[in-house]
């Protein structure tokens, strides 16, 4: 066995001193301790610490530990449940009723929606705005020509034919 102190395998010595090694490994360590003063000192000191720590016996828990714990669980876990408990029967019926009411209201809103106002398509108004000036001039000229043409006609010409 290689020296645990030299190979930095101190865990093995700790385990030996703690009685955590199996019989074979323990025997190997003991064999090594016979020839290695450093490991012997380490293991001896460790066993002493182990025994000293054994003297520290735990204090028993309070008798009401569980009661306090369950009380805390009840307080924390169910504050919402306790808060809503009186309203539970209401909630049970209220949810489907509220859902149905919601559907009816939505349907009503959809049916009573005012018809959409006809609006000029933005493209059309843009076309008017962008009429070329010569085209406008042509239109005005045509209107003027028609008016003059109407003047040339006798006043009852159109009516006699009708």
């Amino acid at each position: 066995m290689k020296c645990p102190m030299e190979t930095r395998e101190n865990g093995r010595l700790l385990d030996y001193a703690s009685g955590k090694l199996d019989a074979v490994s323990s025997a190997q360590v003991e064999e090594h301790l016979q020839v290695c003063p450093a490991c012997r000192e380490f293991a001896g000191g460790q066993q002493l610490v182990w025994q000293a720590l054994d003297a520290w016996e735990p204090t028993p828990a309070s008798m009401d530990f569980d009661r306090r714990l369950y009380q805390a669980i009840e307080q924390q876990a169910s504050w919402w449940v306790r808060l809503t408990r009186p309203f539970n029967p209401l909630f049970r019926h209220a949810v489907p009723i509220a859902a149905a009411a919601g559907v009816v209201i939505m349907a009503g809103l959809l049916m009573n929606r005012p018809p959409a106002k006809p609006t000029l398509a933005p493209q059309e108004s843009a076309q008017v705005e962008t009429l070329p000036p010569d085209q406008l001039q042509h239109a005005l000229d045509d209107m003027e020509m028609l008016r003059e043409f109407n003047h040339l006609l006798p006043p009852d010409h159109g009516d006699s034919k009708m």
Binding site: G11, L14, G45, W50, A52, E57, A61, D66, L69, I73
Partner: protein, 201 residues
């Protein structure tokens, strides 16, 4: 699909430990399983916390918080590690926070801690003599002081190694460090304790 996941989780829990299986039952709403877990781990958790903070009142208060957190986390619990690893991770976290916050001292003033610092040794027929009791008391005080003077992480590692008999790998998971770091922590801690307690030989 969900059923299969549940079965897989159950198999994993069973392969890990029985406690994880109990916790999965708690997750499914079985309050009795929580009672079994409490019964089994109440004492180790309180003792660990007591040795960490060295105040019985604070230790019990912290232990209450540990089990409360276990219960509150039941719905999100996944058995990815041993149950005790998870449990002691919570306990260590709370203990370290308590020590860092100095809550220990504040509570010491507030709590009417009437529990004895040392357990009442019940020896029915062979009562220890006054001298024996005093020697025991002195030795115990020295041990407590020596442990209390260890850095917090070293203290936690020693307590888990010595009293909870945890493997290095498990301590590493609790302290969120490598196994070699745990060995190093323990080695340094025991070295300090050897020096402080050498005169007790």
């Amino acid at each position: 699909m969900e059923e299969r996941v549940k079965t897989d989780m159950g198999a994993l829990a069973a392969s890990l430990d029985f406690d994880a299986e109990l916790m999965l039952r708690v997750k499914e709403g079985d309050g009795a399983s929580f009672g079994k877990l409490l019964e089994k781990h109440r004492a180790p958790v309180i003792h660990f916390l007591y040795r960490m903070v060295q105040n019985q009142g604070v230790a019990e208060e912290l232990a209450q918080e540990v089990f409360l957190r276990v219960y509150r986390s039941r719905e999100s619990y996944e058995p990815t590690a041993k149950f005790t690893t998870w449990l002691f991770r919570i306990a260590t976290h709370l203990a370290l926070n308590s020590l860092r916050d100095g809550k220990n001292q504040r509570l010491e003033e507030r709590l009417d801690d009437d529990s004895p610092a040392t357990p009442v040794r019940q020896v029915s027929d062979r009562r220890p003599s006054v001298e024996q009791t005093m020697v025991y008391q002195v030795r115990l005080d020295e041990v407590r002081r020596a442990v209390a003077m260890l850095p917090e992480k070293q203290r936690a590692a020693v307590l888990m190694h010595k009293y909870e008999e945890m493997e290095y790998s498990q301590i590493a998971k609790v302290l969120n460090c490598s196994e070699s770091a745990v060995k190093s922590l323990l080695f340094r801690a025991y070295e300090t304790l050897r020096a402080r307690l050498a005169h007790m030989a």
